[in-house]
Symmetry: C2
Subunit: 259 residues, 2 copies
Amino acid sequence: MKRVVIIGSGNVATSLAHGLAACCEVAQIYSRRLAHARELAAAIGCENATDDLQTLISDADVYIIAVRDDAIAEVINGTTDNGALWVHTSGSKPIDLFAGQRSRYGVFWPMQSFSREMVVPLDDVHFFAEANNDSALADLLSLGHLISRHVMEADSEKRLRLHIASVFSCNFANHMWTLADEVLNEAGLPFDAMLPLIRTTIEKLNHLSPAHSQTGPAVRHDTQVVSNHLSILDGDKRELYRLLSQSIMKRNPLNDHVE
Amino acid sequence: MKRVVIIGSGNVATSLAHGLAACCEVAQIYSRRLAHARELAAAIGCENATDDLQTLISDADVYIIAVRDDAIAEVINGTTDNGALWVHTSGSKPIDLFAGQRSRYGVFWPMQSFSREMVVPLDDVHFFAEANNDSALADLLSLGHLISRHVMEADSEKRLRLHIASVFSCNFANHMWTLADEVLNEAGLPFDAMLPLIRTTIEKLNHLSPAHSQTGPAVRHDTQVVSNHLSILDGDKRELYRLLSQSIMKRNPLNDHVE
């Protein structure tokens, strides 16, 4: 059984610790705050909690640095190479943070928004792995497969694209709901009315690509409805409605579309 | 117990018939195709199916016209006023279709995308009601409350705003997922990786308004990440990323935001 040390006790570390405890030996938890390290260690039945990087055990197989992006370098500088596999869990930081400081290293990025309050089951979370050599990559992928059904190799370039895609998928989709809320608010209507519709829209993604499940006036080239809607809107809602409708129409030429 | 006649056997009619059968007497189902009327009637234990508007029973309390938008007028013209409450179920057609042809009438719009293949439980669907007088409205609201926990009055102006909001909430949110899919496709990455994140984003809407649950580089005013993402994108994805980030930043001035 793999011996793992988890460095961090925040959002990512908490869910990782719970997921790893079920299939590995989580031998030690480090946090800058001892109380936090102890709390997380106790929650997963680990007996070694520390707030001192100098007391990290040296015989683990994997060291997972799950701390804030701007604290990763500090952890690497404050610890030494012991030949084990060292990884950080940031989607946006490069693998090179370890260069020259470790012999076997990588990135182990779980693509999910975690919170410390809620442990996320990891089996459905997509993990993206990068490592500095084939042996480290093989070890990292096999660790990933212990806790998740979705583990893929992804270098910095791919992580960047995943990040951009998540901005569209989550941040910008959420902004669409903010704009809808504003349209409804002006007429005293509740945003809650949208929730069943939104859920149905997402359920479709289990069977169809988003391009294939597109509905609405733009994909039907129903220019009368589009104009009617534009006449009610103003400000950036109007500009965005116009551009988004164009963007949908461009991808769905009229003669391709059968209602 | 209210006696209801359902005119139609399509997506909306099917779910309405199932929902109403649990709390009303669905006395008759009409469809232009007798086989469809019979099939739906049999499914809900109604014994009267017809394909002839002239044979509609005259002693029901409510007649629900749940047919294609452009077929509603034809049904109204092909039937006569019997003093009962007559309603259509279209979000985009005005109540005036009935003017001069019925004495008690309205619109009874379930805001959900239905399909004939899947019966949607109505208790969570939001219904929007409009009627030509107070008595008709009271009857329509009380019918609504029998089948759904969410029934609200909404005139044509409010229905138009609900429609615009649903375009943002569903059609445009879905287009965000199409754009994400394109970004991933170019690097051979699977869109499926987004699904857990998207589900988490939606779950937040159960507790928070979309404006309050906004995350991502734009709301943090992380202009370095935004510029970096823009440098990778082109075409309308680039233009939309820029405008959407601006739209988010404008609503979240930097000094309001605590990370």
